[in-house]
């Protein structure tokens, strides 16, 4: 069924309510497309066709009864770090290969309550650690625009599912760019909310002071629908913040006349792909023609973001991943040489190379004598990075940058050099360290036909400005209507 090609969440909602299509038909179309395209794309670790069809039947009943909640009957992909009750949830790791989630993450529960249909658990880098999806314990997802290239990571499968229309939307998580970078590489919209905006309860932890759940979607309005469904305070997450959640999708059309937007000079660096810089500069002109006032600004501590991030994230990861020891759930490897040996054999067999590397780096950074030099130092640098943004936001309502220094790279091209891979996150990481909302949306294609992403950042809890700015730009272009041929 080619119907999915033409559908957004917004359009599907209308047609479902008008009874022009049923939730079951939509679910079947998504499942057929998944079956047809998965051999090339591998966007899913665990497709969930039975669950999807059951949820679709329930959605059809609610639609027939005139009692349809916001996302009733909408097929979605859920990143496999988000717990979904009764469904295998692996975090992309072999250490959780047979783990069946005993409860729902709050975000999964909210989507279920909103009537959504879960077509599968999306592929990702192991424990969300990676920028290419190549660290998945189940093999990489591939970019639908060119299957020889990475889709980005860590929420690569979520981005691929949306970009290739295997689902109408997806949830991902973003610790250092893991929603925005794959969204940019896959030609879709991805939004990382303000830290504390969305509950992390039931989300398998990587770096707890940075992790945040957010939507991936074909366009800005769809992202707004997903965000307003999952956002809001959750008593089960003590870091979630009690701030009212606006009805984003209703307020997208405010326009950007007179809006002051900062363009930070540190985000146009040597070594970046010229076509990316050109596309972003063209987007700047476009925003100016829409009435925005764009001014050059500086975020002087940008060059320190990658080291600060990789010290904080790995330190927190080394602590968070201590729980995978073969005792209570997940893999156990026991050769009969006692408890310590069981821990070590289990972790040695269950974790992949990048996860081991980050645990090692983080353990070192937290080990006796080094805490002040590394973790505490990085937390202080985080304050300096946050102050850079505060200074710009005293004058500007939004900041725009490229999402990534290059478009999607070839599979295998960076996997042997961890530091080079880490540097591919250079434009997204500061936003996590400062806890800000950030969105990537398509702003062009390079000469290889690969999508380019524009990043929009705003003040804490001001997702509305991010979405309104993105919407104004999107409505004046047709990048978001381009689809890969799959």
């Amino acid at each position: 069924m080619s119907e999915l090609d033409a559908l957004t969440i917004d359009e599907a909602r209308r047609r479902l309510r008008a009874r022009q299509v049923t939730a079951t038909e939509l679910a079947q179309a998504a499942l057929e497309r998944i079956e047809r395209t998965e051999p090339a794309l591998h966007a899913f670790i665990t497709p969930t066709p039975e669950l999807a069809l059951a949820q679709a039947r329930a959605a059809d009943e609610r639609l027939a009864a005139g009692d349809a909640p916001a996302l009733c009957g909408i097929p979605l992909a859920i990143k496999d770090v988000i717990l979904t009750k009764g469904v295998r949830t692996t975090a992309g790791s072999k250490i959780l290969e047979s783990f069946v989630a005993p409860y729902d993450a709050t975000v999964a529960q909210r989507l279920r309550d909103a009537g959504a249909v879960f077509v599968g658990k999306a592929n990702c880098d192991e424990f969300a650690m990676g920028s290419s999806n190549e660290n998945s314990g189940y093999g990489p997802a591939r970019n639908p625009w060119d299957v020889a290239r990475v889709p980005g990571g860590s929420s690569g499968g979520s981005a691929v599912a949306v970009s290739s229309r295997q689902a109408l939307g997806a949830l991902g998580t973003d610790t250092g760019g893991s929603i925005r970078q794959p969204a940019a590489h896959s030609g879709i919209v991805g939004l990382k909310p303000t830290y504390g905006r969305v509950s992390r309860y039931g989300v398998i932890a990587y770096a707890s002071s940075l992790d945040q759940v957010g939507p991936l979607a074909q366009n800005v309005r769809d992202a707004a629908f997903l965000l307003e469904t999952i956002a809001g305070h959750d008593p089960f997450d003590s870091t979630s913040v009690a701030q009212p959640v606006p009805a984003y999708a209703e307020q997208l059309d405010a326009g950007i006349t007179g809006m002051r937007i900062g363009l930070p000079k540190e985000y146009f660096v040597e070594g970046m792909q010229p076509e990316v810089a050109d596309a972003v500069r063209a987007a700047v002109s476009q925003l100016q023609s829409l009435g925005a006032v764009v001014e050059d600004v500086s975020l002087p501590h940008t060059e320190y973001a990658v080291p600060a991030y990789y010290l904080i994230a790995t330190a927190e990861a080394s602590s968070n991943l201590a729980r995978y020891d073969g005792t209570r759930y997940g893999l156990r490897v026991d050769h009969g040489h006692g408890l310590l040996d069981m821990y070590r054999q289990t972790r040695g067999a269950g974790f992949g190379p990048e996860v081991k590397r980050r645990i090692m780096l983080g353990t070192y950074a937290l080990s006796a004598g080094y805490y002040d030099a590394y973790y505490l130092k990085a937390q202080k640098v985080r304050t300096l990075i946050r102050r850079d943004f505060d200074a710009v936001f005293a004058r500007c309502q939004a900041i725009i940058t490229p999402t990534t220094p290059t478009t999607a790279f070839q599979l295998g091209s960076k996997i042997t050099d961890p530091l080079e891979m880490y540097l591919s996150d250079i434009f997204t990481i500061s936003v996590n360290l400062a806890g800000l909302p950030g969105l990537s949306l398509p702003c062009g294609f390079d000469s290889n036909g690969m999508p380019i992403g524009l990043q929009i950042v705003a003040r804490p809890f001001d997702e509305l400005t991010v979405l309104q700015t993105a919407y104004a730009y999107e409505q004046s272009t047709d990048w978001h209507r381009k689809q890969p041929k799959i």
């Binding site: 830290y195 504390g196 080291p307 209570r328 070590r344 590397r357 090692m360 985080r382 961890p418």
Partner: protein, 95 residues
Amino acid sequence: MAITRDDVRHIALLARLPLSADEETALTEQLDHILAHFQRLDDLDTDAVEPTAHIAPMATPFRDDVVTNPPDPEAWLANSPNHDGRFFKVPKIIE
């Protein structure tokens, strides 16, 4: 600051990771390279800077001390690699 192979072995023990000789070699080199790049943080004088953990000003939230998620031992044991009744089983710790 150079990372030595002995450092890597020590950290691997703390992290409960068994490393092959090849992994020790690779990680010694990689961690050294990564940390050398990260040394640039020392350029910054942060003596008077407070660390940031959460961007919103938050105090620890409190709630009443009542059970909100009823215990369901069967569900929690369902994923366990080895259990006996309502107990997780592990290898003997004390001889």
